[in-house]
């Protein structure tokens, strides 16, 4: 059976609750403030939002359910997406179907987390059973070591260099300089990158995201409703998600995008060459390289060459992570999974906070999450288009 | 107590310095050696103490200890019931021995030179008779105390002086003992080694003859004495009461001697 398209669905009101390195606020606050910004931006009242899609690591012991009472809302459609960095596009595609089917009229997709001193350590100390049993006891608290392994293996397998990763990180920092809420706004040179203190070989400081507090959010509603509210919106051309792809690969060199990439573009009716900007999940540069490959921008193993041959700044020939990405803006927990999507909506609805991709018509936002044991399990992605393009 | 009564005179002597009180007792402490038996036999417990409290959370007002040890630990009193030869005698245990027997005159034979020359030194009847030539006959109901200065050996291994043939410590000759009982009517035999018998006495014709004869004739033993060099050959009075243990075969005791200055 052919997949239904997403016609008549609007994605609008991109919201970012500004990030901070640490916060005394709770995740509830970051989600609640995001909702306040959403209804303000949409010009609606709280009760008009009848669907919620929530992603957060630090709501515990609450879930999306408890949040409804906190925020005083009575939705008829509720979803909690425990997929961390992959939650953005997953929330989008679920919300879109709910709106298309009439199960909800306006769905708020909110991803937010707080960051208390020590809450990052606590999150990773009880991340998953496999991580508790087989990773955390080895000192590799958190994803640094996991991505160090993937980076080490990728570099030796495909000949990518630190300079290649560095070029990507430097370009993203350039992009971030105009983004008001970016945590890191000092220019980064390739020398700065190469000479940064080592974290987990071969990763150094600027290969690693900085955990922080914040939230990202957007609304999904019918295009008719968006027009009625006079809201600029983007359209959804295609989405994918995949979990635990390629379990027999002894170490991760590719992820779920590669399984789904053909249908992804077919469904959108476009190809990689039609993409005007790519917002890739970027907690560590190696996963950006895999996305360039798995999403069809270059062949497996050639991302290093691709990066060398392209200008990844917002004004370059391959605009990439145009707000600066997590590597420069910061990783507000699960909000990292929506950062690229929210930036995509901004670029396609002329609501940019920072640099603008001139004439952008079609953008791709890609998400990745949940290092359950030795690899990230969840991938998702969406191709969005400017409405009426 | 009448002013010129006997006890007044005694106390006058003690308080006035005319009578000296000498402590013949070793300090009870955990590293005191105990008599060694073959390992498949029952063993006497060594002296052990565990603190109950010391003005602390276990008892804020007091310091005290729990003790454990065998009846024959440190300086102690051997009752006749200790030995198979004395098992059926009347008044043979610590709780039944008439208490006046715990006060007796002492004769001290200095064998320190002999013991110094030969750890297996044995005290014989000839030597006693020589001693009597000088110091007078042993009065009936006296302790015969064998001074060897053995108790000056503070090192436990030297004190026990064991090798593959057993202990090598001085003691009475087996032939001396019947004579002491029959001819001199001693109340018991005391010495400085860990037991009243010589270290090698297990190999004698009658094993452990001092125990065998003394206890078989309702006489007592006082091993592991010290400070015997402070006693005169004749004239000291020993105070030797053991703890009143029901059917006790002996007990550690604080042995005191009264000596006229």
């Amino acid at each position: 059976m052919a997949r239904m398209d997403y016609s008549g669905v609007a994605v609008c009101v991109p919201v970012t609750v500004p990030y901070s390195r640490y916060s005394l606020r709770s995740a509830h606050w970051f989600c609640g403030r995001a909702l306040a910004e959403l209804i303000k931006g949409a010009g609606i009242v709280k009760d008009e939002v009848d669907g919620f899609c929530i992603a957060s690591f630090t709501l515990a012991p609450d879930s999306a359910v408890g949040l409804t009472q906190h925020l005083g809302v009575s939705p008829r459609w509720l979803d909690h997406i425990p997929m961390g960095g992959a939650s953005g596009a997953v929330a989008l595609r679920r919300a879109a179907r709910a709106v298309q089917c009439g199960d909800a009229e306006i769905v708020a997709c909110i991803a937010g987390d707080t960051n208390h001193v020590d809450s990052f350590r606590n999150t990773i100390a009880s991340f998953s059973q496999f991580a508790n049993d087989a990773v955390y006891p080895y000192g590799s608290g958190g994803p640094n070591a996991s991505f160090a392994f993937l980076t080490d293996h990728y570099m030796r397998q495909y000949g990518a260099t630190r300079e290649d990763f560095g070029k990507l990180c430097v370009a993203q920092r350039d992009n971030a300089l105009a983004t008001p809420h970016a945590m890191m706004k000092r220019p980064l040179s390739l020398d700065d990158y190469l000479n940064a203190r080592p974290i987990a070989d071969p990763l150094c400081l600027f290969d690693c995201v900085m955990p922080c507090a914040g939230s990202e959010a957007f609304l999904v509603m019918s295009a008719d409703r968006a027009k009625a509210l006079d809201l600029p919106f983007a359209e959804i051309l295609s989405t994918i998600e995949r979990h635990n792809a390629y379990p027999d690969d002894p170490i991760q060199i590719r992820a779920g995008w590669a399984m789904d990439v053909d249908g992804f573009y077919d469904h959108a009716g476009v190809g990689p060459g039609d993409i005007d900007f790519l917002q890739a999940y970027d907690d560590y540069p190696v996963i950006c390289f895999m996305q360039l490959e798995d999403l069809g921008f270059c062949a497996k193993g050639e991302a290093g060459t691709f990066v060398r041959e392209h200008d990844l700044t917002t004004g370059g020939d391959f605009p990439f992570n145009t707000s600066g990405g997590q590597l420069s803006v910061g990783q507000a927990g699960a909000a990292g999974g929506s950062l690229g999507l929210v930036e995509s909506i901004r670029q396609l609805t002329d609501q940019c906070l920072g640099q603008v991709v001139e004439g952008a018509q079609i953008g791709l936002a890609s998400c990745f999450g949940m290092i359950n044991y030795d690899r990230g399990l969840c991938t998702s992605a969406a191709i969005l288009g400017r409405s009426g393009r | 107590m009448s002013e010129n009564g006997l006890l007044s005179q005694l106390m006058g002597g003690i308080l006035g310095g005319g009578i000296q009180v000498v402590d013949l007792t070793m300090t009870l402490q955990p590293d005191l050696p105990t008599i060694v038996m073959p390992p498949e036999f029952g063993q006497s417990w060594p002296f052990r103490m565990e603190e109950i409290s010391r003005y602390d959370h276990r008892g804020p007002f007091c310091y005290w200890n729990n003790l454990s040890c065998g009846e024959h630990t440190g300086t102690h009193f051997d009752a006749p019931i200790h030995w198979v030869s004395g098992k059926d005698l009347p008044e043979n245990a610590t709780d039944t021995i008439p208490v006046e027997k715990f006060l007796a005159h002492a004769c001290v034979v200095d064998c320190s030179a002999g013991a110094d020359a030969d750890p297996d030194f044995l005290l014989t009847q000839d030597m006693i008779e020589d001693w009597e030539e000088t110091h007078g006959k042993i009065p009936p109901r006296s302790w015969l105390l064998m001074r060897t200065d053995w108790s000056l050996k503070r090192d436990a291994a030297a004190y026990m002086n064991m090798d593959a043939e057993g202990a090598h410590t001085p003691g009475p000759h087996e032939d001396l003992l019947p004579w002491l009982i029959e001819e001199r009517d001693v109340i018991g035999f005391g010495c400085e080694a860990v037991g009243t018998d010589a270290g090698q006495a297990g190999h004698f014709n009658v094993p452990y003859p001092c125990h065998y004869h003394m206890h078989g004739n309702n006489r007592f033993g006082l091993p592991a004495l010290t400070n015997l060099d402070a006693l005169p050959p004749q004239g000291a009075v020993l105070i030797t009461p053991p703890l009143k243990i029901r059917q006790g075969s002996g007990s550690p005791a604080r042995i005191l001697a009264l000596v006229e200055a």
Partner: protein, 413 residues
Amino acid sequence: MTTRLPPPGKKDPVARTRAPTQPPGNRSREAQGLTAMAAVGRFALQVCADCGQVQYPPRQVCGRCLGDDLPWRDVDAMGTLLAETKLHHANDLFFRDRVPWRLGVVGMDAGPSVVAHLAEDCRQGARVKLSLNLDRGGHAVMNARPENPGPNQEDDMQLRELSMDPKDRRVLIVNGKTELGLALTNAFLTAGAREVYVGHGEPWKASPSLEAIKSLDHVTLFPLDVTDTDSVEELAAVLGGKVEIMVNNSYHLRPGGAVDRMDMNITREEIDIHYFGLLRLAGTFGPPMRARGADGEHGACAWVNVLSAYAQINNPAFGTYSASQAAARSLAQCLRAEMSSGGVRVVNAYIGPLDDEWHQMVPPPKLAPDMVAGRIIDALQKGREDLAVGAVAEEIAERLAENPKEIEREIKL
């Protein structure tokens, strides 16, 4: 190539001693299976009884066929190093104290990929051998060593954190007056112990073993009688801050049980030596050893109890002895829990009958003391925590695992 660890110098008397921390110890119930295997030195993983798939990390349902019968089986420990990293930063306090720290991903020949502590000499793409070892918290972890280790392999600091290697450490052997005491002294010296302190009680009793020990270099004798609280306290005051490996080899065996030989004195002596003796040592040497669990490369690391295999199942021919050993075993488990916060591991060696005078009437097989000592050294070097020494002890362990009732009925009087 891993180089020889420099021998310890004199400790700076005014420097703060690093406080012990433990690696993360939160494990699922399934993962405790790894700990059970590591404790006895096995390299075993869950293997699906239905489809043969080797599982890692441990789980309750087969990742291939969804079968739920996943018995632990010894598996091929070889693999290829797929990736490596050296951590320069760690959030966990134990590793913060010890970075840089090497980790690797090993693709096992048996199937799964595992994250493992990585020996210095392993390089990406090379063949490596995995082992399961208990970490300083007593939990199982994977270790990868090169296929052909160099001569100083075990001096690798990461491996040394996981082992209890006697090399360069100071050892107290509680009783030097037995053949086992002599064998242990020789074995620890051969294993490179820095100093061996040897206790001896009842100095008036001669001992050929002690005479032989006296002539050895790097050995110092100390009076020690585990039945005497004063004696234990006095020695702890002297050596408590120095002992890095405690070996409680106190041992007092007399034949007889409860009905046929009711003897309170013998029984009390057994309890006094095996149980109270361990208690006295634990209460005096335990605190200073625990405090030195992270004192550099040579900190306190192990407490060895030589226990009878009959601690686990009563042999009525040595009935009260077995019972006192069972009491000691229980106390040793308490000790293990209490010492774990200092990273000091408790090793229980369950031995079969020794070839000595007290087992004269026991038919062979009987254990040579040298063999027992050798196995204890091996366990310390390999980081094992429970070992059955000799055919009798091994058989007891197997029969207990299989059918405890059977062995209770059949054990020979």
